[in-house]
Symmetry: C2
């Protein structure tokens, strides 16, 4: 089953179907009242700027606030010229493809990895190599072997990773692995793209491991994050922190792609940071996510047969479920939806080049607690029907 077919099938999901297929945050986490007040204040105080064309790089106030915000997690940024505001992180992924990938270039990702990153990169014709993961994240020893092998054959443009609460697996890369990754990247002189949509809402025990960008002493990391999970996806606001040179390339590309990101939304986001709304909202989001994750883990434990396993994420929005090898989750999806009334994303399309067909991605942030329990029960019935 192709990705486009799955997308069509998921569109078919109706009210009677419980869907774990999306990747949407819980709407109760949106700071609605604050956005309402802020929008009014912004329009009262400076509508002439907030509704006007703006600079391609982004609104200065927002960049300043983001530099402070990143500073709190140890990311040092060399001034506003090292930050650009994008239309979500997706735009950053597309621009990365446009700037760095020539047809035939090697690109390395975790395996499995974020589907929409694969789609964005593939437009530009790279050879994508996936590196397997364990519970500590990307297997850096295998990355190194791979880099060794490839370096005779062609240029590796970058290693793309989602170190915290990875999409689709929910895995968080350990501190040791992060260090090792930076060392190997340095030794082979490759860029690292750190996609960090979930780092600010890490809900595991203790502290989240440091960002790669915070550990990077060589300017090797291009750091991506977004307001989609700490505020609201409907604003379509992401940002990139990198060297001034790289940000200048981003600006040139973005200028011909869409001139700039919505100024109104950028002013709203700047105030969300300035007034502490984001910082006050983060603990609440963590609590919502942690509770829903716990519920899904509990339901999985209660309903799933022993031959099924799954990850226990401490960040992100997804649990990665592995069914027995005889089950093709892509084939099963039709029956899961039409007979059992439950949907998910089959794992196959997240793999850049492995032929694994028995995994699936389950989103726990959007469905309600009742839907989580009932949906996992239904899913277990579908899996039991398919187990031979």
């Amino acid at each position: 089953m192709k990705a486009s077919e799955i997308r069509e099938l998921l569109k078919w999901v109706t009210e009677n179907v419980i869907s774990f297929g999306g990747g949407m945050p819980d709407p109760s986490s949106f700071p609605i009242k604050d956005i309402m007040e802020i929008t009014r204040d912004v329009l009262l105080a400076r509508a002439d700027k907030a509704l006007q064309y703006g600079a391609t790089g982004g609104v200065a106030e927002l960049k300043e606030e983001l530099i402070k915000f990143m500073g709190k997690v140890g990311i040092k940024v060399d001034g506003p010229e090292s930050v650009i505001i994008t239309v979500g992180s997706q735009e950053a992924l597309d621009i990365i493809g446009r700037l760095f990938i020539n047809p035939g270039d090697y690109v390395i990702t975790e395996s499995p990895t974020y589907l929409a990153a694969l789609q964005a990169f593939r437009i530009y014709g790279p050879r994508i190599i996936g590196i397997p993961m364990d519970e500590e994240g990307l297997k850096v020893d295998i990355l190194e072997e791979t880099l060794k092998k490839i370096s005779d054959d062609g240029k590796v443009k970058f290693v793309y990773v989602i170190p915290t609460g990875q999409n689709p697996t929910g895995i968080t890369m350990s501190r040791e692995r992060r260090k090792a990754l930076l060392e190997v990247a340095s030794r082979y002189d490759v860029l690292i793209i750190e996609d960090d949509p979930y780092g600010y809402i890490y809900f595991g025990d203790g502290e989240s491991p440091d960002r790669l960008k915070a550990m990077d002493s060589e300017g090797r990391v291009i750091y991506l994050s977004t307001f989609s999970k700490i505020a609201a996806p409907g604003l379509r606001l992401g940002w990139v922190a990198a060297s001034r040179e790289v940000i200048r390339w981003f600006e040139l590309a973005k200028q011909s792609i869409d001139l700039h990101t919505s100024t109104l939304n950028q002013y709203i986001a700047a105030e969300l940071l300035k007034r502490g709304v984001i910082e006050r909202n983060i603990p609440r989001i963590k609590e919502i996510y942690r509770t829903k994750r716990d519920l899904m883990l509990q339901a999985l434990g209660e309903y799933m047969p022993d031959s099924v396993s799954w990850t226990k994420p401490s960040a992100g929005m997804f649990i990665w479920l592995t069914a027995p090898e005889n089950i093709d989750t892509g084939e099963m999806l039709n029956v899961a939806i039409r007979k059992y009334g439950v949907a998910y994303v089959p794992g196959k399309s997240f793999y850049p080049n492995e032929e694994r067909r028995n995994d699936m991605r389950l989103n726990f942030t959007y469905p309600t607690p009742q839907q989580i329990f009932e949906g996992i029960r239904r899913l277990s019935l579908a899996i039991r029907e398919y187990i031979q």
Copy 2:
């Protein structure tokens, strides 16, 4: 002087410099109070949707409103699947390049034409051919000769035109020329890209000529427009109307570029249309633009030497000024800014392949009436210094 150098020089423009260089609408034309009220109402009624991820094609309510809006100027659209919402028209231009241009393909534009369209297309490596214009717009006889010549050599992908209030010249294509353009395009079977940012605020005497899209019986026209001039550029909202097939391609491209356009802004725009704010605002915008155009024409008449000529636009935001042939407006810009305190965009970069250096683009919508008079006076001094 390169486009990037000019951009750098224009950045240097300070408070003491009067700039006709931008392309910004008058901020007094923004419906600020309505946007404030609407945002509150949208967030009260359906924040769960307006702040959430949305469909790549756009918010259904907005597409329905746009179909009605376009219907009033005679554009018939075959349902919401024939419309897509973009991040301003600029994103549509980039996607057009991505979808239609392979390196070496021919693309035809007016000469001069919109700088940012040239930039967006050039990324994809086309051979761009500019067709000269007169006061009735694109010279269709020359277009036909060109198509005849080219058709042996390679594929012409599309003809890109801004028929109403063209950027940079301010020229509006006559009805006869529009008919002729559609006939020639049909005979040679090429697509037409109709970029229509200014059509809804035509401020000339009588009615604006019909849109190409409204005259098109063959589905040959891809129609682009934007909220930047009828509401506010800071929303970054544009739209495309075309065949379902073409819109489907747009959606696939946009999905990997930025997932979708800001849902919040789309709901705001839907309400701006639904509540009649746009329709009530349009006469006000026309009045502002007409008054400022008249002022600039008057100032030009008073101050410019006889050897200088300019267009008399009935739509758009620009007057195109032609200085005596010995003047290189790119070279003159430095002196105009530093010695006389006035800025403009040199004409050279608007030409896809002509080597004309004695034109400039003057924006009349953003500067104040005082600035228009004083700025034109200063500009006349600079030109007089350069006349030999």
